[in-house]
Symmetry: C2
Subunit: 295 residues, 2 copies
């Protein structure tokens, strides 16, 4: 096991433990709602967003304990978006992370509501003194704004809407770039920025780290398109070759250019964190990992 | 036009104006997403939740200007819940506020996403300095928690889940009381409490006002059940006699007892705000209005 692999394992455990605490804080909720939320939250996801947040915070020399509830809130928001994206009325997917999707197990109504609950509870966790009392309300408010903006109409949901309406349409490079920037990149960039905020980054550092987030966010989504195009369902954990009707990077730029763009983005991400000196190692390794995962 | 009617009209205008400002703050969102969100937000709703918040704040002798963004966020959350409740996989309703439901006009995928966007943007608005700079971050955090908790798994979404799973089942008084307390009452009570927080209520005042909120919240949902049972679709603005399979107050308590319970709750609501003296008038009139609307 490489160093990065054990790093990822360690952080995933940390995140899972905090998520368990969050789920233990629900006292009075219907059993099927708890089950449907937990089914997707504890389903062996890569947890790349909270890990990026933690790595960013620690690269700035600050411990990540105060960050954990926010990192988990981001993972809850990411998970809700998967549940809703998989719905029959949207992408109609049966498989996610190697298991039947939420609506396949719990029915469509409960899947809609499990997503709604995860999204709402993410904001409850971030504002809940039990979880964030060590962070000043001013920073709490700033982080909630950062995440809500990245996840909302001008971010992730906006990107998802364009993904849906251009399904089966001709599209263009501008369309695929809009989808990538909003649907995927916005929340990944926000994850890095939230890590930087808890890490007390100065404004110049925040700018460099934001660029890092944008580069790994774009690389992540292009790799996703490549995996759909040439990956193996068993390895990828979800249905592949399903994006034929979708606006993908490969459709508009070709496979070779897509791979080249990923390599370029990974290099730019690494350059962006050069200012951290020795402490940049993990962020650099994460960029490489994002650019080569399952390839 | 009675005094209350002109009061409601004036406050609705105020709320609509703030909602227009909020929608003007979206710069870069897909047209169909904006249209689908606005379609339901500006659809002649009663706006009872933000009005209760404003009335509570003003009853405490404080102006409601600082409250408006939070009151509008609550209305956005209420609106998202209507859009998702109406979905084919949940209540499958075609009519809402006298117009075709969101998914009937924009399709199911966009309706899911419009709801997601409204919910997320409600939290963006509450944390957005452009809207809430006059409120201290400590109070902002408290209000976000209050609303997220009321709207989430332990509140509105939890109630909706029980509503869904007991559809067509035998049910019980305990079940219908759980549904009412969580699905409807939680967010209405939170509206009153948020008004009280901006109104700087002391802890004893907050307790009385919370009780007021619980009473009008319960009355509101029982009246909803009564309207479904004996109302006219054209007046009510949504399909009626659709709750035959649902857990309603009438099913478990009978029509006469339901009406009696509404009257009792309205009286208790009024008693709870007695401490406000002359300033209690509007809250009392609102309680009466909630207990008799469209009856």
């Amino acid at each position: 096991m490489t160093d990065l692999q054990s790093y990822l394992k360690e952080k995933r455990l940390l995140i899972d433990n905090t998520l368990r605490e969050i789920f233990a804080s629900f006292k009075d909720i219907p059993g099927i709602l708890r089950d449907s939320m937990e089914y997707m939250v504890f389903s062996n996801g890569k947890k790349i967003r909270p890990i990026l947040a933690i790595a960013t915070c620690e690269s700035l020399g600050k411990p990540a304990d105060k960050l954990l509830p926010f990192a988990c809130a981001i993972e809850m928001i990411h998970t809700y978006s998967l549940i809703h994206d998989d719905l029959p009325s949207i992408d109609n997917d049966d498989l996610r992370r190697g298991r039947p999707t939420c609506h396949k197990v719990f029915g469509e109504a409960i899947a809609v509501l499990a997503g709604d609950a995860l999204l709402t509870e993410a904001f409850r966790v971030m504002s809940d003194k039990r979880f964030t009392e060590m962070v000043s309300p001013r920073i709490v408010q700033k982080i909630i704004f950062e995440i809500a903006h990245a996840a909302g109409a001008e971010g992730m949901v906006g990107g998802q809407v364009v993904d849906v309406i251009y399904n089966g349409q001709t599209g263009s490079k501008a369309v695929v770039n809009y989808i990538h920037a909003h649907k995927t990149c916005a929340l990944i960039t926000a994850s890095v920025r939230v890590g930087a905020m808890i890490g007390e980054a100065k404004s110049k550092e925040l700018r460099y780290l934001t660029r890092y987030g944008e580069c790994v966010g774009r690389a992540f989504q292009i790799v996703d398109d490549i995996l759909d195009y040439e990956g193996d369902e068993k390895v990828v954990g979800k249905r592949v070759r399903k994006d034929k009707e979708k606006q993908t990077y490969i459709k508009h730029y070709g496979l070779a250019n897509s791979k080249e763009e990923v390599a370029k983005l990974v290099e730019e991400a690494k350059r962006s964190v050069q200012f951290l000196g020795e402490r940049s190692e993990i962020l650099k390794e994460l960029a490489t990992y994002i650019g080569t995962r399952n390839l």
